[in-house]
Symmetry: C2
Subunit: 167 residues, 2 copies
């Protein structure tokens, strides 16, 4: 059986971006980036990114594979994982560890350590900015350790879901 991953309601923190613009911007930005870096934005890579940015919600690798299959691409697992790794290396996709899922980056311009807010009911996910949100995550400067990557995920319930339900 399949794990549910629908999502139906919204809450303010999840709605603070204009996704129409977000989508167009994202495509343009990734194109420019690849051009500038002399990287190939192949049909497969473009398609995977489009699948992720289209609804701008986290998708499991196998959901991406299904979508690829529907669009005439190969849908064996390594296809998705390789492209996802590539897009993550360049900061256009992040992995949500708590969901084993992947999501298109919401702030692909500046390099950043992403933080995510995840509603465990509707499974909506928002990528937040250190400064913009209440969260202040002082740059981790641990003694005797060089931090290369941080994972920050906040799971809970959004207002819409909590007001709608009987817990």
């Amino acid at each position: 059986m399949k794990k549910k991953r629908e999502g139906k309601t919204t809450s303010k923190i999840f709605d603070d971006h204009d996704h129409g613009m977000c989508f167009d911007d994202a495509i343009e930005q990734i194109e420019n980036y690849f051009l500038k870096k002399n990287l190939q934005f192949t049909p497969l890579r473009r398609k995977v990114f489009e699948i992720l940015i289209r609804d701008h919600k986290p998708l499991g690798a196998y959901e991406i594979l299904e979508a690829l299959g529907r669009d005439g691409f190969s849908s064996s697992p390594p296809i998705a994982y390789r492209v996802l790794d590539f897009l993550m290396e360049h900061g256009f996709v992040h992995k949500i560890q708590g969901l084993n899922a992947f999501i298109a980056c919401s702030h692909p311009n500046h390099s950043h350590s992403p933080a995510f807010v995840i509603c465990r009911k509707c499974e909506k996910v928002a990528e937040i900015d250190e400064k913009k949100s209440g969260i202040s995550f002082a740059s981790p400067n641990i003694k005797n350790f060089e931090v290369e990557k941080t994972t920050v995920e906040m799971t809970g319930v959004c207002t819409t879901c909590s007001s709608a339900a009987t817990i």
Copy 2:
């Protein structure tokens, strides 16, 4: 084939606790907690916790299962996952999302949002305290969202590993 999960070197951030004491304390604390809460600290639960606290390093569920098998317990997957879920509910075990592994809590007294420092070379893991370490993680108070659980993991390389190796 098996993923490596050995760990051989140490760095200061990983050595700031006396594990002999840590082990004894942990056992005593979990016993007291279960007694006070009228929960059953069954042989299976005790064994799982002992396996985790013994070396105080992250173990995969299937590693725990092997250890259980060696000690005469059943070693089918649900056994481990159920006990781990239970111990996590009560704050005595945490899951390291970046490693798909479980580790005994280092600060089982006070309720806390654990944060972890993970060396990707030796796979040593330290659970750090907000205040004690350089990290300051302001309590996330996001608008229109009630945070229930935070995941904070910092991956990098410890001094020992970085000084030892040719990157």
